[in-house]
């Protein structure tokens, strides 16, 4: 009996190791490759023979404009997140707390839009934005991004608001608060963790957006980081700069990885709350 239990434990550890390796190995390879010298970029050793930061220097060479791309990403993803949160908090509160007709239908419609293929709106909007001269502007990336970020935010926040007990506002309203005051003074502070989680999830979604940013821009100075990296060029046309691409990839991913490590409990709760309800 004890031997089978022991075997089971070992198998379990093996499984856990397998899962961790599956998730981390490709990411680890990106980090290792970014730290290699250009001369030994094709090495397959698991640890770089000599750690070098020349790829990172190459990424920030002025000709790549990568710093600018990071800033663009921050502006686009940040603005999208703030706007979506602002709109979604009110809507989600109404969905979770108020009784009104067609609530189900409206919520279903909002959530249905998140399953919408983005390209279906990119094609007509590309034409529209060409006509009104919005190509190569931030708003041309922010506005279409709302289409998939807003439903996500509404859904997540609705789940969070629903989990908070009704009695909180009822007590506040008995004490003389209006519903608006109860919302502002009681619900918002208490829902801060939920709002924060939603902010992280939609920031990551907006930060990772590629199709819209690719279609709406053709000038490097307004491109977001994912688009800029995909267009990195080497010394010659046939020399793909894998090292600096990996370094740039690490730089774009590290903020997200830090967020994930810091807020993993919240993110998991937020991701699963939407689906398992």
């Amino acid at each position: 009996m004890t031997t089978t239990v022991k075997w089971r434990t070992w198998l379990l550890y093996l499984g856990v190791a397998g899962v961790v390796a599956y998730c981390l190995a490709p990411f680890y390879w990106m980090v290792v490759s970014s730290l290699r010298r250009t001369s030994d970029i094709f090495d397959t050793s698991l640890i770089p023979s000599s750690v070098s930061f020349e790829n990172y220097e190459a990424v920030f060479s002025p000709s790549q404009g990568f710093g600018r791309a990071l800033l663009n990403s921050l502006i686009v993803a940040g603005t999208t997140t703030v706007l979506a949160l602002l709109l979604a908090t009110f809507t989600a509160y109404a969905m979770a707390r108020l009784e009104f007709r067609f609530k189900r239908l409206i919520l279903t419609l909002i959530i249905a839009t998140s399953m919408f293929p983005v390209v279906s709106i990119v094609v007509p909007l590309l034409k529209l934005f060409t006509d009104i001269g919005w190509i190569n502007t931030y708003q041309a990336m922010i506005v279409p991004s709302m289409s998939f970020v807003l439903p996500l935010a509404v859904w997540n926040l609705t789940t969070f608001f629903r989990q908070m007990p009704d009695e909180l506002e009822q007590a506040a309203m008995i004490d003389g608060c209006t519903r608006g005051q109860a919302f502002r003074k009681i619900i918002i502070p208490l829902a801060a963790p939920g709002i924060f989680t939603t902010a992280i999830i939609i920031f990551i979604a907006a930060w990772n957006e590629f199709l819209i940013a690719l279609s709406m821009t053709n000038r490097p100075s307004v491109q977001t980081a994912p688009v800029a990296i995909s267009k990195f060029t080497g010394a010659t046309q046939f020399d793909i700069p894998f090292g600096s691409q990996m370094a740039a990839g690490v730089l774009v991913t590290v903020p997200l990885v830090i967020m994930v490590l810091l807020f993993q409990r919240r993110i998991v709760a937020g991701l699963t709350a939407g689906a398992a309800k």
């Binding site: 499984g15 856990v16 899962v19 961790v20 599956y22 490709p26 990411f27 397959t44 709109l87 979604a88 009110f90 809507t91 109404a94 108020l98 009784e99 009104f100 007709r101 609530k103 189900r104 409206i106 279903t108 419609l109 909002i110 399953m115 293929p117 983005v118 390209v119 279906s120 709106i121 990119v122 094609v123 007509p124 909007l125 590309l126 034409k127 529209l128 006509d131 506005v143 289409s147 807003l150 009704d166 009822q170 930060w207 990772n208 590629f210 994912p226 688009v227 990296i229 894998f242 990996m246 991913t253 990885v257 490590l261 993993q264 998991v268 709760a269 699963t272 689906a275 398992a276 309800k277």
Partner: protein, 354 residues
């Protein structure tokens, strides 16, 4: 803001005035729940709170969709990418853009359609199997749970564009993949191996997501059920087939639905990993985007509309399969919701532990 309704919102108009009209005292069955003082006048407030979101979604989703429908009836003007004003001179061609997919020009469309479907079926299938295995392991593991959870979120957090670059590096002709298998395969050139590369990269990124959702479903299954099964002498395999699977099925189906709809619009990964206009991996999203960026808006819009219809059909199919609605019982207060969920899906009644 709510009153400034652009003309194209006609299709969404019914809900809004109705929500505004609901300002009168609530219906008797709602008053029965004892919330009458709290709900008086909430209709107007609800309209005020909900309409900004609806307005934005109308502008960024409904209006473009209608525009795409209209645009798909127009042909292509001469190839002049510099011209800003082209809508006036594009010839009206009726349903020709749709009819063309059955002609010889349709080869590219049907190829993209096949690729999209193939990628969706294969990746979602593999993801589900790997995701469920991951969830089972994570559910059983007690030590190192935080590490596993953190690492499982990494593929999800890596931007798809970056993962495309990363896998292009891994699948490089002198890359680690070839040195691991000891073969020289030119993964990123046209051919079936390009499909395999895309599938591997996609499954890596998204299987953990399914794992997370299934894990949430597993964590709410009461332990007593398994104890009872063990007492009755059920083997682990039987326990899995007759307890675990049926009870996580709702969570799993939702996860699969999300993944299917997401895979149907796949764009970033094949675009970066293999490249644009590659027959072996071109999806419908890539085809539509490529046509649009070449100022062939008419055909592009037609492909986008067809993709939209395809996604819609799959989504409707899933909703029928799921039976229950995805949004949960949005109507009633919490207790009513609890009860209806309890009746429908016993696995989802407990809170998901954070």
């Amino acid at each position: 803001m709510a009153t400034r309704t652009p003309p194209e919102t006609a299709a969404k108009r019914p809900p809004r005035p109705a929500a505004g009209r609901a300002g009168r005292p609530p219906a008797p069955e709602k008053a029965r729940r004892g919330r009458k003082p709290a709900t008086a006048g909430t209709g107007r407030m609800a309209a005020l709170l909900v309409s900004p979101t609806l307005l934005v979604l109308t502008v960024v989703v409904l209006y473009p969709t209608l525009m795409a429908l209209q645009e798909s009836l127009y042909g292509t003007k001469g190839l002049d990418p510099k011209t800003g004003f082209i809508s006036d001179t594009e010839p009206f061609v009726g349903l020709k853009n749709y009819a063309d997919i059955f002609g010889q020009a349709g080869d590219r469309f049907w190829n993209a359609f096949f690729n999209t479907t193939f990628f969706t079926v294969v990746t979602v299938g593999l993801e589900t199997v790997i995701g469920v295995i991951m969830a089972l392991i994570m559910h059983k593991a007690f030590s190192g749970r935080a590490l596993v959870r953190a690492s499982i979120l990494i593929p999800w957090a890596v931007p798809t564009a970056i993962s495309g670059l990363l896998w292009r590096w891994i699948f490089n002709s002198d890359g680690i993949a070839n040195s691991l298998i000891g073969h020289q395969i030119l993964w990123t050139t046209e051919g079936f191996h390009a499909k395999v590369a895309v599938i591997i990269a996609e499954v890596w990124k998204t299987a953990p997501f399914i794992g997370l959702l299934v894990l949430a479903g597993l964590q709410v299954i009461p332990k007593e059920v398994y104890e009872a099964a063990r007492m009755d002498g059920a083997s682990p395999v039987r326990q899995f087939c007759h307890i675990t699977l049926p009870l996580v099925k709702p969570a799993l189906l939702v996860a699969v639905l999300f993944r299917c709809l997401d895979a149907l619009r796949m764009f970033d990964l094949p675009y970066i990993l293999i490249g644009a206009q590659k027959n072996s991996v071109e999806t419908l999203s890539m085809l539509a985007q490529n046509e649009a960026s070449n100022v062939r808006f008419g055909p592009a819009a037609a492909y986008a509309v067809l993709l939209f219809v395809y996604v819609l059909l799959i989504a409707l199919g899933f909703v029928r399969l799921l039976g229950a609605d995805l949004v949960g019982d949005a109507g009633g207060p919490r207790r009513a919701k609890r009860r209806s969920l309890l009746r429908r899906t016993p696995a989802l009644t407990a809170e998901v532990p954070a």
